[in-house]
């Protein structure tokens, strides 16, 4: 038994904007009967103002899919296309007073139907869902979609990716791929976040960040090859280190030091120079 909000129940039992618009200006179709839910969205658009004057849906799916379809059509009616595209799946879920986590993919489907319809109206390729590589064979979910939904909804676990996109919910064969995508997305995110504040570092902050970068970013890589690194001193922009383990006397040590320097420049400060004790 799902814990649906009263709003979801109400909009499931009394859906609004059901049907298909005759001669629609835009049509967006997503999902499939095999996957268990599908949504066909038809729009009437004022060609001069690009404003959505009417929206109707037909949905095959569970209660939350049907309620999400009503939410979508209510949210976009009267908006311009650009305004409508600013709506996210979170807005659809919020309109419904929230959805069970396992049902968030219904709100994502609503958003995708809108994207598909706008692309159709603008004569673009029918929806970006078709771009990228298929990761989940069971539900036909691409890496692009998984990445976007991870970032928009700040997802951290495979379980949540399944809740929001269905990917991984079938045979489970793609779960390692989803884990990889999660790691990639959040690794990129970490870099972006740490790059920003680097201009205003105090000396103490700089030292702390160098230490942290060595511990988290550099050391694990060296240790993976049975090597190691020790931070000896920081003198202005000079970072003095010592290589340990198999790194000692390694023919590739120069390359390793250059790479360490590159990482520190990237994550801490452009001016840093790495020297071996």
């Amino acid at each position: 038994m799902w814990e649906y909000t009263d709003k979801v129940k109400d909009l499931f039992l009394h859906p609004k904007n059901v049907g298909e618009i005759d001669n629609p200006d835009a049509v967006g179709e997503v999902g499939s009967i095999v996957c268990g839910d599908a949504l066909k969205l038809t729009l009437k658009i004022d060609r001069e103002t690009n404003r959505i004057t009417d929206a109707k849906f037909k949905t095959f799916g569970c209660a939350s899919a049907i309620a999400s379809s009503t939410a979508l059509t209510e949210l976009i009616k009267g908006k311009t296309l650009d305004e409508a595209l600013n709506i996210t799946n979170q807005d659809i879920a919020a309109f419904l007073g929230g959805l069970p986590r396992e049902k968030m993919h219904c709100s994502v489907m609503g958003y995708e139907a809108l994207e598909a319809a706008v692309a159709n109206y603008r004569g673009e390729k029918p929806c970006e869902v078709e771009e990228g590589e298929i990761v989940c064979m069971c539900f036909g979910v691409t890496d692009q979609k998984i990445k976007r939904v991870i970032m928009e909804n700040k997802l951290r676990t495979v379980e949540d990716v399944t809740n929001f996109t269905k990917a991984g919910g079938g045979c489970g064969g793609c779960i390692p791929d989803i884990e990889k995508i999660l790691k990639e997305v959040w690794a990129e995110k970490v870099i972006e976040e740490t790059v920003k504040p680097r201009k205003k570092l105090t000396n103490i902050q700089k030292i702390a960040l160098i230490q942290e970068t060595i511990e988290k970013e550099i050391r694990p890589l060296l240790q993976a090859d049975n090597g190691d690194i020790e931070l000896i001193d920081i003198d202005g922009s000079r970072v003095i280190i010592s290589l340990r383990g198999t790194c000692t006397g390694c023919l590739m040590a120069d390359v390793t030091v250059k790479n360490i320097e590159k990482k520190l420049k990237e994550l801490v400060n452009e001016e840093l120079v790495v020297e071996v004790e």
């Binding site: 179709e29 095959f60 569970c62």
Partner: protein, 389 residues
Amino acid sequence: MKVVYLDNNATTKVADEVREAMLPYLSELYGNPSSMHTFGGQVHRNIEIAREQVAALINAEPEEIIFTSCGTESDNTALMSALLSRHDKKHIITTRVEHPAVLNFCKTTAREGYRVTFLPVDKGGRLNLEELRAALTDDTAVVSIMYANNESGVIFPIHDIADIVKSKGVPFHIDAVQATGKIPIDVKKLPCDMMSISGHKMHAAKGVAALYIKRGARFTPYIIGGHQEHGRRAGTENVASIVGFGVASDLAKKHLQTEGTRIQDLKDKLEQGLFNTCPDPRINGDMVNRLPNTTNISFEYVEGEAILLKLNEFNICASSGSACTSGSLEPSHVLRSMGVPFTAIHGSVRFSLSRYTTEEEIDFVLEKMPPIIKELRELSPYGTDLACH
């Protein structure tokens, strides 16, 4: 609003007689049946009466019955015992449509190095007995096959299966959780080594089940501890539920003899009525060898959870094999094994009746169901020309 309960394969109402029999053990008779004093020890006699009653339902001897906590425990115990008793054998045979209690147990053992044969079923949910015969090897430790399927209601030819398995001398376990109390079972005529039955599927309380272990069959306990159940299942007995299970078995036996085909007739009326009012329904499963109380019907192009929630508005309880109701994103493994097309699998509804089901309730469902299917088909982007009459 009155509840119209047509989900009896999930669980059943506790019979009034069962509840009455249980109550003393939830109040004044709280003693431990293992105690030396009369206050506790007297309770033990009632457990033995219940054992006789449960045994009588399947024509077993009382000492061939041990009480467990649920059907899953009975299934797990049976399989684990078979594997431990013949630890040199590394092959298990079961079917693709078993209850998760057997299916997932077998999948776990497969990860531990056992070879598992999952026998397929045809469109009607039927097994091919030749495939069973061919799968049996000298290395087979146990064969575990259900008597009747919980989702489709299909009854397997369990006597023929037992003959094949026993002709090879392989231990045979039957998951009879859905069959007991619904069709007559006689273990004296059915050569199996173990059989799981469950209380709450036949109007006893939850938390009690039984495992039949044929006299002389090798058995290794699963739950280890005290001497309860003659050391075959440790743990203080769930006295109230066990006593209730005994009464429920008595009632089930009586009911099987007196009521005959009443439930079957009601189910046929429901099926026929839905066929007459909704275009393109399909029955999932063998039309002949089915439990008298179960029907699994698909309404193409609509989704099962949506049907259930609309029925819920009228307090009608049923269940579905659709992905959205499964707790995962995968639709029912039983219907998929039967090759039910996806267009129909998501729109499947299972109605399971009981001896408490009335004709008025069936009429009520037949009145409410067609407009529900009609509304949902109008909402659906597929097959819009299939509205109900």
